[in-house]
Subunit: 364 residues, 2 copies
């Protein structure tokens, strides 16, 4: 079985690493001169919507993607030409448009932030009336890691925010008073079978994920609530593969923030911490193979290495530290790698995580 | 840090797979046209004692080996020329000579089978007097997976066995009445730090390892006995890297059978089942990095896929099954891959292992 992947960043790298032991040939497409996945697999060089590159990728048995800003139109053309694409490009299209995404949540009775479309000063005034302040004005498309958004604390901020974001194709979102950010990773097989990883708690800084850890105090009810909303999304989208849903926990229950139709940074811990990793399960799903068990094996947490990586011996001296470097040159704000801390129990995990966090707060 | 590896079979493949996330560049040397490791790393093509290939390999920061029948002389020449080789080629030389190996055990007070050198009919008669029957006549060198040995049930078998094995450079070993075969995987860092994985129980058939599973009923005393004998070997050899010691359990305690100065098939379960895999720990050791924790993460067992592999969906349908295919063409007796079964506890593990064993006993 051969799999084509649009994008060859670290997610493509880890997909390729997961596919190799299964005997799945993974080929990727990426415009970068030196993408992370090239260290372990064949990478075709071309833009994400390069027709020739996509056509070559489509000679594989199935095409998937690791990057949500892939132009959906190119994949839709491939699908129209008979290529098998998983997940369906429609899921990609929804995820690329914050308004479509929020509307999908609403249609499926999945609670989310109050929101209104904004295309000019008049619709922004209307939206502020509906949503209230503080609120966040965002571009509908191509937002990523906190880029493309402005906070509106009071009506006086509105004009500047509107101008800064281009004045149209925007969405105003109410601020959700949440106690913490969670995410659920779900996977749906070609046969409709589903599986879920336990909720994890995510800590962002400057809009970039820093830490994912087991969400403390999650009872069966909360896990079931998350699985239920993820199931509605999977089924509605006829989804095949791994889907990540970012959630806010509030006193009134979970609020969906956004979805990512791909393997997700908050699931990297599954490489070591689950019976089957998100990468392997995504490949299993898109290849029509049985899904793997998502049960926990020990306790795990993940720390991203952003901008610069601590010295390797310092990381490796932490018991249970599993280092994953992506082979990228250091640059402020760039995800260079991650470390998964594994332990037999919660206390040992907390201690190891604390040691690791001290390293990234004061990199050597 | 760059690592050169002599040999690019499945052990080289898994070393390369372990090195990549750590940012260690792994280059390998192998004469095969299509060695397993070539799927994920650069493989220089050349014989294991090819001077040019070895010299190119030695441009790395450290050279190691994944195959114990590498001619030690070539590595010793590299070491003499200033290359860093780990483990020391002396360990390789000992492991290649069953007599030297048994003598090393004896010198270190490590119980082993009674044994005598055999170089002709007279020394065989003497050896049979000393060791008794039944006994096993083996070539001193190049024995592998049960090849190069003959059982002598009574004195009448002696002449044929001697002739079949070439008549000289042999060793006669007494048969050890053991209850089971165990192995211990040990690792020693460049600084002399050591770590050990828990004893595993191994099941061989036709001289080839079939299954490794957690050794039931191992108490602290038995684990300590194994660690103690491994420590004596590591220290005596000034060893750096992973060392495997195959052991027989007898009513009188452990008997060392043989050592392997490399990562070992009975440690493949550590990829999923330990906080740090044997492959990563070998690389950490030879690169002078801190050793990783060897503590268990869940419970794991391993089943080799010999000769032909069961259908992929059948394997992947087993909860907690982690498939590792080496990309080799099927051939009777050939190790094509392995499956690690992981589970949260012993009961689930036993059930999963049983399901997997049914598949390899009756491959689809």
């Amino acid at each position: 079985v051969r799999v084509g992947v649009v994008g060859a960043g670290q997610l493509g790298l880890m997909l390729a690493q997961a596919g190799q032991p299964l005997g799945l040939g993974v080929t990727l497409l990426d415009p970068s001169p030196d993408p992370p996945a090239a260290a372990v697999a064949t990478v075709l060089r071309g833009d994400f919507d390069d027709a020739d590159g996509l056509a070559e990728l489509a000679s594989a048995d199935v095409v998937t993607f690791e990057f949500e800003n892939v132009p959906a139109a190119g994949l839709e053309r491939l699908a129209a030409a008979g290529a098998r694409i998983a997940p369906d490009p429609a899921a990609l299209a929804v995820s690329q448009d914050r308004l479509a995404e929020k509307r999908l949540f609403t249609v499926l009775d999945i609670p989310t932030a109050p929101h209104e479309a904004v295309d000019d000063a008049a619709s922004l005034r209307h939206a502020l009336d509906q949503v209230g302040v503080p609120a966040i004005l965002k571009t509908r498309r191509l937002g990523y890691d906190g880029k493309g958004q402005r906070r509106i604390a009071d009506d006086g901020d509105a004009g500047d925010a509107l101008a800064a974001l281009g004045g149209r194709d925007l969405i105003l979102e109410g601020v959700v008073a949440f106690s913490r950010e969670l995410s659920i990773l779900a996977v749906r097989g070609a046969d409709g079978q589903t599986a879920f990883y336990p909720l994890v708690e995510n800590e962002h800084r400057d809009g970039i994920l820093r830490v994912s850890r087991p969400a403390a105090g999650v009872d069966e009810r909360l896990q079931a609530e998350a699985e239920s909303l993820a199931t509605r999304l999977l089924d509605r989208l006829g989804y095949v593969g791994v889907l990540a849903v970012e959630l806010f926990e509030t006193p009134e229950g979970l609020r969906a923030n956004e979805l990512a139709p791909r393997v997700h940074n908050s699931g990297h811990w599954t490489i070591e911490g689950a019976a089957t990793s998100q990468f392997e399960n995504h490949l299993r799903a898109v290849c029509g193979l049985p899904l793997g068990s998502t049960e926990l094996v020990g306790r795990s947490a993940m720390v991203n290495l952003i901008g610069e990586a601590p010295a390797r011996p310092d990381v490796l001296a932490i018991p249970g530290a599993r280092l994953h470097l992506y082979g990228k040159a250091p640059r402020p704000g760039r995800k260079l790698g991650h470390v998964t801390l594994v332990a037999a129990g919660d206390d040992a995990l907390a201690h190891r995580l604390e040691t690791m966090l001290a390293l990234v707060r004061a990199p050597g």
